[in-house]
Assembly symmetry: D2
Homo-oligomer: 330 residues x 4
């Protein structure tokens, strides 16, 4: 856990990076208002690391973040910045930050964002605290990332709707949710949505058991089923699954790829609560002279974890929940 | 408008046919409870015309439809029945209906369903009144079909979510909604969603104007745009549109195909209201000895239109609404 | 229908007045963007007639109304202004408007707002077109007012939630909805919500029939019931109803007063559609030199009605819908 | 932690008691399907302890719980049973349970329900495992109770709606949420809703600071504010708060009592997830011969806590969250 001299901190920067997630605005609001309450100034950096390079800096006051706690997306925008992989680019970025009078920063984002933040500290001694913001929930060191709860509820709402048609037409549906190479959304929405089975990128398809399960359900008179799959490296995995099922069983299925609706929408209560707590805690860590860390959650407690630790470890889906989904859909 | 002797009607049948639509349950409830209130018996026919052939008949009482007004899908299920194109099949169906003691019927569905209903009357003198139930709103003779309002709101909710990400990432999104070869959902959700432009199956893409529009928006600093397209004959039209735009302008876009989520969900107030009124009115028409008609809406009034009339005419999208969307997204 | 010389119109004012309603922002957006598309300037007047007096004028450009179509409330605020009952106040208001270079206006509001608008035309020849915006739907000359559809859906969502508890605890609930002295929300939400009975301010309680109805339901095994009542002149009518029922039957009931949640929230698709059409049509009427009118809806068509006509007549609830609710809850 | 011989367990009973909560159905489904998967029989007991006395027992199979995971309320109904305070009543209840062949039970409910469960074990050696189901979240030994997350989101949705009107009319609103004598819902919804201040039953009103806070907000140009209060022993506390504020400051406020809408509605993803896990875990505890305990959550882990421990201790609201709300609404 890195330490720096926080007495000289007069101005804090805040930015979002990577994909947007519902609750990022609540986190920005918490950073801004906590910092101002602690007599600091705050500068917003637009569009993540791109804004570092383009000097897209905006002074923030309490009104800048009025009436945004309930909004999806990010008023500071977000986005990836490929040039940031180059050391020279990061040097320019650090210079720009220093020239703007920004003494320390809060980075709201995921793994890629934290890698950049970690390098800015290692190479240029810019003190940064990370706040986990991604719908994918795939960050080690925190049980919950901002946006995950909303994304699961959005996917669940879609599954509930699809079930209406599945039941009315005795059909097999395959619903593909987001999450890239991790299965948290799939497991959360699948279990809550009463899915027959859940497929996550961490594991190859094992469809024999699923087909057996569906056949038993049909034998008992349950003519409709819903399977949930995470997208994996790129959208479209549901089509592969549908084809595999057709080949092994002859069952026709309908595919629904939920896509970008999962990234947006008014954040859930829990995402707003976590965002508010973590955004505020990030400022407090900086004021204690702690940086190079991420603040996270473990149940109702907050945690502080070194960024390098978050980046090296992989967070695993609780596979017992997939087995539970299978038992409960019997 | 065909007439029959309604004095002998003791038992009414009710069925849903075609794709399911939110509000069908409210319509079923209205048919059942109105009929029972008028001292008739009611039989539910499961799975549309398939149920006619498989004699899948269920007696209905007031409790059969308790607590369903708020549910999507159809407790009587729905579905298409290709064999019904054959006269011999219809003869068997008519015999089965008569043997079950069903004297007259209410058919909840769309064009295909009404074609079957019309033939059952023409060929076998089975008195049927149609209730327009389809999310596509593509039935001539009624301003509103049951399920349309809910589907538009579901699509709109998705567009609202996508806008969060579009705005946070300065992106162009193309959202594909349902509606088969008609553009009602696209126009409703597109205009209400603040879309830059709306593409309907009734017309080929004319993207020059759209691209010009987007360029002007960008020049004014509006970096994100949403286009809405109806699916057309088969899902995937949004990909063609994205490719056409890329070719003409170099703009990259993200495609979201909303798909089956639009068919489900708890029906909106308006869909429940219309379903309740039309389901009840259908029974009343039968009791007056009127059949071979569809009951529909014109503003707050109910209409009665001959089925043959509904089937021959095509209902057109109000193109002024597309132009309005273009003006309002400036 | 009053006429004025529209050739001199260069700048249009727009304001909201009375209670806020979901969709007002969509109407403001439509006024602003249509006017700018027609090469006019637009000025927003804040806080209704109060803003006339305090010269609270804001120039509007297309960006002023970006990203507001989905938001409840009004970016121009709203509110009542009691001083406007005095002729002298109106004279000052008219002078302020003229001094600000505003040539014609669009007023979004209800009866009270239109009274003010009518007087400004009668007394000071300020040309105004009205757009009906109120959740109460109590304006003669239009089937639909902006905000009504959203309010009904909000009330319905609450009734659906309450039904869960009513059914789980075998209870009688009385739900009070808004609408002041008109019963449109009560009828819409009550019928769509499957209420046993609906009470509107236009009629005194007649509870014998209701109690009989509930007793019959209980005899058939239906142990929970929901009654819906409009608030009437002031909130709390539900308590009177509960007491009357207790006295006549001994039945205990739970009262839920939905209150202000019905005024807010993201507008429904239909409210946004109507708001967009009417806001745009209001500008077009002004450009044709027509004023002293309200634009409204009749089914899918738009109507143009003299303000004096709207103000003199009372719009009546369709009582057949209350009877339908009684039949369908049997 | 009590132990019993689980080898003789062939049939499990399941019941809900106390107020209903969204997610109870998901818990019932989990109990039924897990038990059947483990080769047990399951009997549902209707209406909580009342059903024990009236022998209202229903055999459950996998289909009994089909398509209920998404529904609010409880298919087994719920309710309080005052007679259960008498030892003689409990003796009759225990006899009825034994006569019905029920060997062990899962009780879904809150403090009152667990008191009954504990006594049935102490007095009659009926093995019971508790599952925490109440929107109030006031049960010691678990971070989360089933229904709490949904209730907070319902309250939050209402606050979001009210904020639209508050902002449009520059008003002070006081929103009263449920929770009886505990403040969990108030804190969750208040913090997530951006409330200026939150009042919980655990503490007397201290409104000087609140009034100061509101005055400062107004001085900065923020003319609308929302306060959230828990109901306390009986609904209506918001009126007392409004009166106290009026007396001390002259500020007028509008009161909204959210009431019973907070108990219903389709459960959130998290409530369904927790309900599924806890319902299943309760059966597994019984099969291990453990009883007299409640299963609960601590973050992502499940806990097992003695009922007597849950009943003796009081779970406290994290007061830091109230202070955070004050900081963040500055």
């Amino acid at each position: 856990m890195a330490q720096f001299d926080s007495k000289t901190v007069k101005t804090i920067g805040v930015y979002c990076s990577g994909g947007d997630a519902p609750g990022m605005n609540a986190a920005i609001r918490a950073v801004v208002r906590t910092a101002i309450f602690r007599k600091l100034k705050v500068v917003g950096i637009m569009q993540g690391y791109t804004g570092f390079l383009e000097k897209h800096f905006v002074p923030m006051d309490p009104k800048s973040v009025a009436n945004i706690i309930q909004r999806g997306g990010s008023v500071l925008k977000a986005g990836r910045c490929l040039e940031f992989h180059q050391a020279e680019t990061r040097r320019v970025a650090a210079d720009n930050i220093r020239s703007a009078g920004i003494d320390a920063m809060v980075c709201i984002g995921g793994d890629g964002s934290f890698t950049g933040a970690d390098l800015l500290w290692q190479e240029h001694k810019l003190p940064i605290v990370g706040v986990p913001g991604t719908i994918d929930n795939d960050i080690f060191g925190t049980e919950h990332t901002i946006g995950f709860d909303t994304a699961v509820n959005t996917a669940l709402d879609a599954i509930d709707r699809i079930r209406d048609t599945a039941a009315s037409h005795d059909r097999l549906f395959i619903v593909e949710v987001m999450g890239r190479d991790s299965g948290f959304i799939a497991v959360g929405a699948g279990l809550a949505g009463g899915a027959e089975d859940i497929f996550i990128p961490e594991h190859p398809f094992q469809i024999e058991k699923t087909i057996e399960h569906i056949k038993q359900s049909m034998a008992r008179g349950k003519m409709s089923s819903i399977l949930v799959t995470a997208e994996g490296q790129k959208p479209g995995r549901a089509y592969d699954l549908a084809e595999a099922i057709r080949k092994h069983s002859g069952f026709q299925s309908k595919v629904c790829i939920l896509g970008h609706i999962q990234r947006g929408g008014s954040p859930s209560a829990y995402d707003r609560l976590v965002a508010s707590r973590l955004g505020s805690a990030a400022v407090d860590q900086l004021l204690r002279g702690v940086c190079g860390v991420m603040v996270g959650t473990r149940g109702e407690e907050l945690t502080v974890v070194e960024l390098t630790h978050c980046l090296k470890q992989k967070k695993h889906v609780n596979r017992a929940l997939i087995e539970l989904a299978q038992v409960l859909s019997n």
